[in-house]
């Protein structure tokens, strides 16, 4: 189609794509409006970011400049580790909370009767939850550099690559939590396992090489370990995409395996909930 002598791009984009983007926009807008109308929420987040960074800054000073895990200064090491870890956990938490709230109010049942397929709805909602926390991650990293003078040598392409590959894993995690919530009303259990059990295995605050050999091997089976390590090398050491290819390949493999598994589990749990009439149980 041509309009005013120029091709009309809107007619060139397939209808399903337009519809999906329209739905994503509607979900992002809903979440943004809800967030800004919690008037004190943003201020509380900013205060939390500053307090956490201050604690890590003084912890690294107390430990002293002699401790350089992987040859990196300790404060930037902590900044990236805790930032990426928090991004993963808080994104999944935000998404899970949205599902739990929708169960409690009865919105979930109504959402499942719209023309949008349930799986598509859950994926788009999780994208929105992760987008919100991505902004928090960027604020966290920016504050660490700007206020606490963390030294970075960022390679932006590598950072973007790590983030994109990690997103698939984070999405799988969020969807898995939603699946457990719909199936057994126990999505919080998975997050508890993650937040309390895996943080020390993923190299968030110290290198995994410090762990005993069996735990180190276990840590290498945790996808978050590669996300944190990859982001440190991309942001703090400025390694190129080529140099980081092995790490990116591992992240891609985790994503390729975990995302379809999580989606299949979700489809199964939604079908079972419709059969048992437990969609709104919480």
């Amino acid at each position: 189609m041509v309009r005013d002598g120029r091709p009309d791009l809107t007619t060139m984009i397939p209808t399903t794509m337009t519809s999906t983007l329209d739905k994503l926009y509607a979900i992002l807008r809903r979440d943004l409006l809800t967030a800004v109308r919690h008037r004190s929420g943003f201020v509380v987040t900013l205060v939390g970011v500053f307090t956490e960074l201050a604690a890590f800054y003084f912890l690294s000073r107390a430990i002293g400049p002699g401790f350089r895990p992987g040859g990196l200064e300790y404060f930037p090491f902590l900044l990236v580790g805790t930032g990426v870890y928090t991004f993963f956990v808080m994104s999944a938490q935000a998404f899970l909370s949205a599902v739990q709230e929708a169960q409690q109010t009865g919105t979930l049942e109504v959402l499942m009767t719209t023309s949008t397929a349930p799986a598509q709805l859950i994926i788009l909602s999780s994208v929105s939850a992760f987008a919100g926390n991505l902004v928090n991650l960027l604020v966290y990293l920016f504050a660490g550099v700007a206020i606490f003078r963390a030294s970075v040598h960022a390679n932006f392409f590598s950072c973007a690559a790590v983030l994109i590959f990690s997103l698939a894993i984070a999405l799988a995690l969020g969807i898995a939590a939603a699946t457990l919530q719909v199936a057994f009303q126990k999505g919080s259990a998975l997050l508890w396992l993650l937040s309390s059990g895996l943080w020390f295995l993923s190299g968030t605050m110290f290198p995994i090489q410090s762990l005993p050999r069996p735990l180190e091997l276990l840590a290498r089976a945790v996808p978050l370990t590669y996300s944190i390590d990859g982001m440190r090398r991309a942001l703090l050491e400025g390694q190129s995409v080529t140099a980081m290819a092995p790490t990116l390949a591992v992240l891609a493999e985790f994503g390729i395996v975990l995302l379809p598994l999580a989606l299949a589990g979700l489809a199964l749990s939604l079908r079972r909930a419709r059969q048992d009439g437990t969609l709104s149980f919480y």
Partner: protein, 268 residues
């Protein structure tokens, strides 16, 4: 062709007690919500599902909307099977549920309707006009930009009806739609239902209100303990009292309100 077909539908809810059930008194077992129920609704027909609490009215509506899946039998909407072609069924069905708070509290009425319309694939160019129309139809135009967390029960209920209408469904499912509405709004709503039927919308309405059934129904299904006791036409002009008498005769329940009235009027 029938717009909605319910064929030998059986729905059972199984109760799985908690793992450490010996700590409490929760019971296992199952509840048969619908027992081999069959009926159909033609295009532009207003079908009222009448019955007491727990008779299976809401379960029937949820099965048509694809919120639930049947254990046996089949549910079809516009020729599509609710189990196999759930997506196609959802495109045709709009439902107003009894849960009043099934909205996003920090969005306004307009924003909520716009959000649900987007998920129902109403095009962006049409959405604003459609939302405006349903807000007017349900008498919410003055509260359109109020956050729904500030709404009363009746306003929530009207918004639920607006949400069901915004996609212009060919089948409209209403679960006790006037429960929290005042008399004037209820009368206006009943007129709206008759208008929708004239515009070729099939309406299935669950209620235990005889006046509502008499005001809107073309046909009445009487459900009792998951069984279909009666399927009969309703003459326009038929009174609520006639339906009430029919209900108690069919169910065998005792009409205590009438008994009290009769008792009060009786000479000592």
């Amino acid at each position: 062709m029938d717009q909605v077909v319910f064929q030998s539908v059986r729905k059972i809810f199984r109760h799985r007690p908690a793992l450490f059930n010996w700590l409490g008194s929760e019971r296992g077992g199952e509840t048969v919500a619908l027992k081999d129920v069959s009926f159909s609704a033609a295009r532009a027909e207003v079908l009222v599902l009448l019955g007491p609490n727990g008779s299976g009215k809401t379960t029937a509506l949820k099965l048509i909307s694809t919120m639930l899946l049947p254990d046996d039998g089949s549910v079809q909407v516009g020729g599509f099977d609710a189990r196999r072609d759930a997506g196609e069924v959802r495109r045709q069905v709009g439902i107003a549920v009894a849960a009043e708070r099934s909205f996003f509290p920090r969005l306004s009425a307009r924003e909520n309707l716009d959000f649900f319309a987007a998920l129902d694939e109403v095009s962006r160019s049409e959405r604003e006009q459609r939302v405006k129309e349903v807000l007017t139809d349900t008498g919410l135009e003055e509260q359109a930009d109020t956050l729904v967390m500030k709404f009363s029960s009746g306003m929530y209920q009207r918004l639920g009806i607006a949400r069901a209408l915004v996609k212009r469904p060919s089948v409209l499912l209403l679960d006790e739609p006037t429960r929290s509405l005042d008399a004037a709004t209820t009368a206006h709503f009943w007129a709206t239902i008759r208008d929708l039927a004239r515009q070729q919308t099939t309406v299935l309405l669950a209620t235990h209100n005889f006046a509502e059934a008499a005001a809107v129904a073309d046909r009445l299904l009487l459900l009792h303990r998951g069984e279909l006791l009666a399927d009969r036409p309703v003459d326009h002009g038929e009174s609520a009292e006639t339906l009430r008498t029919f209900y108690f005769r069919m169910t065998g329940e005792i009409d205590e309100a009438m008994g009290a009235t009769h008792g009060a009027g009786r000479a000592p």
